[in-house]
Amino acid sequence: MRDTFRFSVATLTYYWRRSLLLMLCVAMAVFVPLTPYLLVGRAASTLEQRAISTPLMLAAAGSKTDVILSALYFDGRKHTLMTMGEVMAVDRKRAKAIPLHMRFSSSGTAIVGTTEDYYKLRALQLEDGDFGERYGDCVVGYNAARRLQVSPGDFLSSDPKTIFNLTADYPLRIRVTGVLGPSGSPDDDVVFVSMDTAWIMDGIGHGHFQQPTQGDSPMQDEPSHVANPIGSATEKLHLEITDDNIESFHFHGRRSDYPVTACIIVPEDTRAETLLIGQYAARSDGNVMVVEPLRVVRRLLASVLRIRNLVISGLALVTVACMLLVVFVFLLTFRLRQNEFDTLKKIGASRIQVFGMIFWETGLVLTTGASLGITLGLLTGRFDQIILRWII
């Protein structure tokens, strides 16, 4: 058996171009259906994992899919805002409420306003710097930091919503105080700020050189200079929050009226979860809805996986066709080499020995090709983010 194997290796080496082509052919036949299978499977698993770690989501009534894609994966789609009052109304004995504000971006990277509880929920760790405590501080996700080329101590500017109305949503310069470690989730691709900073970007809070009128104080719930909530044209607004001007920053209106995109609800237990779902389902005003992210994601994935299975079935047929072609090439090759086999038989080789050589040759090409295809498929699955980014 060792000799027949040795003969086969010698033959494959001698006809190396043919062997290499056949191996690549087999590798591609394995790689092509395997890769989308692995990539979609991995993406589905990642999506599902994130949904699993987000028990409930509270948002303004509307499309559940839009809320999930926006608040869970920060895909940038717009959803009707709700008020902070809804977040404050969540029964604290039953659940923890983590508000999310997603209206702004910096150089195209989403700025997410949230609280410290969000970092704990997602188990996000700092790679460098700290979380920052002041208005205008931000923590940048791992990929976002590399894309924006920032590190602690650098500054980012929020993108203006409109270039024609300078009084609305004016750009705010925010200070990078920390960079998060890689989490392999959408958190890597965004900039996190506190809810207060997000509201300052909204224009609800601001600081100006002119002293605020009597009664203004940071975080007050009562409205002040209501007639001109964002400051008059004569008042010069601060575009950056510093230690020197932080005292001049103040908020207008009731905190319960401040806008919030969505709110993650982390119930204490299953009973609390059921009660919360029931509570919101029974509400008659229909202003807000409670979404179970896992259910929405699974419904989305069901469609994706059906399409994946359809695509893979098609690709499997291509693989079968490719393998049949490989077999055909082998048969043709063996026919062309009939003289060699006849010589072996004339010298004294048994039929088993000749079949052994054919077996090893075919087996080596198929196993090497298939191994190459599987390895390439696994590598593609391993570096899916890089590859997908490169392709897209």
Partner: protein
């Protein structure tokens, strides 16, 4: 003995009959005759590649007609060396690997130092240098290829060497040297040589020559 050729469509088939023919041990016999006179068939019957349909063939103590294919194969590997007109070396093996092929097919996993010494001596006698022995057949001249083919036939020191027009593809100068080489090696090993040839100029170097017409009779039908 009788041998029936495989029947093809539209052909009534033909039968080869040899009433009696013998070659003495250690004799070198030239087998001459026109193309299609049955020289190759006779050699293949004697080597056990083809089996007789009726009658008997005896090589030394071995009765080939009584053997099945597996036994004839073993017999061939151990006792018969074949030299073919078109050399029939395996293109993907080096000269050394081609020479050792019969040993490998005999399931001698490890080539002993004795065998290796034997091969080295044979190569020396055949004029196959170390450089040539590392090459593959496609990098050899016609003469070198036929010397390798002779080496492969003689490497197991067979008692019978059957050569089927081994000089058919060679130029006149090479023809002479190859025939001399083959005769010399067979005589040295005391092996019986039966060589089919169209080259009448070399007949005087053989112990005897035999015309297939005097040995073989043809009959129509099966």
């Amino acid at each position: 003995m009788h041998y029936c050729y495989p029947q093809t469509s539209g052909d009534i088939g033909s039968r080869l009959r040899i009433p009696e023919w013998s070659v003495g041990a250690g004799e070198c016999v030239a087998l001459i005759g026109a193309s299609g006179s049955g020289k190759t068939t006779l050699l293949q019957l004697a080597g056990g590649i083809l089996s007789v349909d009726d009658g008997s063939i005896r090589v030394g103590q071995h009765a080939l007609a009584a053997m099945n294919e597996a036994k004839r194969r073993q017999f061939r590997l151990a006792n018969v060396g074949f030299v073919f007109q078109s050399f029939e070396l395996l293109p993907h093996l080096t000269v050394d690997a081609n020479l050792l092929l019969p040993f490998r097919l005999l399931h001698k996993q490890r080539i002993s130092t004795d065998v290796q010494r034997q091969v080295d001596q044979l190569c020396e006698k055949l004029g196959l240098s170390q450089a040539i022995r590392k090459r593959r057949p496609d990098r050899l001249s016609q003469g070198e290829r036929q010397r390798v083919a002779i080496g492969r036939a003689l490497v197991t020191q067979p008692s019978v060497v059957l050569a089927d027009e081994p000089t058919g593809n060679l130029d006149p100068v090479l023809k002479k040297s190859i025939v001399d080489l083959l005769l010399a090696r067979c005589r040295e090993n005391q092996a019986t040589l039966v060589m089919a040839t169209h080259d009448l100029s070399c007949l005087d170097r053989f112990d005897m020559s035999c015309e297939t017409g005097t040995v073989v009779q043809w009959e129509a039908g099966r």
